[in-house]
């Protein structure tokens, strides 16, 4: 029996091994290595030189760091809030037996299937100030649109709008949450005389609050890691006037163009801490708003 238990444990470990190796080699080791390099002056070409916390101290003095952090926070806030609004509204509209439901759901979900690079190029062409589809449409109704990606004040909102276009993913998750709300709650609410908005605020939203929490945390994380859109649409410099220099884009430039891997590793760790704190804050906040009662 004892030898059997030992064999079982050995077999179990063997089955886990592929995953364990992956975790250590591709996650834990890089994390630790990045932290070590963040304490070094490391240019890839020469061996790393230990310099203590100098990289972190330099970060606090770096205007580009603060600019990119602001840009990213702007984008993350905009895309999280607008994305929440749009995807939740779509899910509420589609949580019904309206005619052509399948068509509507397909149309709203389709954009989120588009690869980010392809979508970025599509929107880049559409955002063109002269020949772009968007400004042509605005011109047709008498508005002269901004230069979008070439205009420092409009470049970030433009990328937020593009992110909202891909809200279909979150919409599907909200839809699943909405369909899980027991109809007995609505019956009870109606008997109590609750109107549409009362039902929405007191029944629907509390019941899908775990789903909202899940989506918000995921979109905060992906918002802070935004890179591809800016890299494709406005080039790695974050033009115009560094208004689309996102945090990860800045990190990429520092690491792979300036070859300051130590500094880039420090940036990566700072971003990791920021996302960790935000997720923690969201979780703390969720304890007041999220209900798991069924």
């Amino acid at each position: 029996m004892n030898s059997r238990a030992r064999a079982n444990r050995r077999n179990g470990l063997l089955f886990c091994l592929p995953w364990l190796i992956g975790l250590t080699v591709f996650l834990i080791y890089p994390l630790c290595a990045a932290f070590y390099y963040s304490l070094c002056d490391y240019s890839v070409l020469l061996p790393p030189v230990f310099i203590g916390f100098d990289n972190y101290l330099d970060l606090a003095q770096d205007p580009l760091f603060w600019q990119s952090l602001y840009n990213t926070a702007y984008f993350a806030t905009g895309s999280v809030l607008l994305g929440l609004l749009v995807s939740l509204s779509l899910a509420l509209l589609l949580n019904s037996k309206v005619k052509g439901l399948g068509l509507y759901r397909t149309v709203f979900f389709l954009p989120s299937l588009m690869p980010v690079v392809a979508g970025s190029i599509l929107w880049m062409v559409m955002y063109n100030g002269q020949s772009g589809l968007i400004n042509s449409g605005l011109r047709a109704i008498g508005i002269s649109g901004p230069a979008w990606l070439a205009d420092p004040t409009w470049a970030k909102p433009a990328i937020v709008i593009m992110a909202v276009w891909g809200a279909g993913n979150a919409m599907v998750i909200y839809l699943a949450g909405l369909q899980d709300v027991p109809s007995s709650l609505y019956e009870a609410a109606i008997i109590d005389g609750a109107g549409f908005f009362q039902r929405l605020v007191h029944v629907t939203l509390p019941m899908i609050s775990p789903v909202i929490y899940f989506n918000v945390v995921l979109s905060i994380i992906s918002g802070f890691q935004a890179f591809t859109q800016a890299f494709i649409m406005t080039g790695s410099t974050g033009a115009p006037e560094r208004s689309t220099l996102f945090y990860v884009l800045n990190l990429y430039n520092v690491g792979f163009q300036d070859l300051r891997m130590g500094y880039a590793s420090a940036m990566a760790w700072v971003l990791f801490i920021i996302i960790l704190l935000l997720t923690f804050a969201a979780t703390k906040l969720s304890q007041r708003f999220v209900t798991y009662d069924r």
């Binding site: 779509l90 509420l92 509209l93 589609l94 949580n95 019904s96 037996k97 309206v98 005619k99 068509l103 509507y104 149309v107 709203f108 389709l110 954009p111 588009m114 599509l122 929107w123 062409v125 559409m126 063109n128 002269q130 020949s131 589809l133 042509s136 011109r139 047709a140 276009w165 279909g168 909405l178 709300v181 109809s183 609505y186 019956e187 109606i190 549409f196 039902r199 929405l200 629907t204």
Partner: protein, 161 residues
């Protein structure tokens, strides 16, 4: 029986926001699809065009798509060389650039170039002759474009012949 869940009960009014939003979501994809079908000179025109249109010329009942830099109404030669790298291809040439059975541009800048803001055009053959070595030369006049659908039909017709 109507659904007990009042949020799933609907009025036809719900179509209004849905149609508006669905249009906004679908337009970029539709535009992407239609642009992908457009010839190069039609892409990026101001104002944008939705339906793909292919300029073409007709040579002896045969339909040949062209990418024209051409002002509408001007005369061009269509030359079909039977030797060299452009063998069998329909070249659109300024009549002044065609000497001794060969395309020799008088100035390099007079070669065919794509002018994106020029109308895609269709051309009508106004005369043709065959040179030695069975090199075909047709004088054409450039006309307004037609939709790709008409072009496809014409192509199918000439293929059936």
């Amino acid at each position: 029986m109507p659904s007990p869940n009042p949020l799933t009960r609907t009025t036809p009014l719900i179509h209004l926001p849905l149609i508006v939003l669905a249009t906004l979501f679908a337009l970029p994809l539709l535009w992407l699809l239609l642009t992908a079908l457009q010839p190069r000179e039609q892409v990026g025109k101001i104002p944008p065009e939705w339906l793909p249109r292919q300029a073409f010329i007709r040579i002896a009942g045969e339909t040949v798509p062209v990418t024209p830099p051409l002002p509408v109404g001007s005369d061009k030669l269509v030359v079909v060389p039977n030797t060299g790298p452009k063998r069998g291809k329909h070249l659109l040439v300024d009549p002044a650039d065609f000497h001794d059975g060969q395309v020799k541009p008088a100035q390099p800048s007079r070669r065919l170039r794509v002018d994106r803001n020029q109308l895609p055009s269709r051309a009508r053959a106004v005369g043709s002759r065959t040179l030695r070595d069975r090199q075909r030369v047709v004088l054409v006049e450039i006309q307004q474009p037609r939709s790709a659908r008409i072009l496809r039909r014409a192509r199918a017709r000439s293929a059936a012949k």
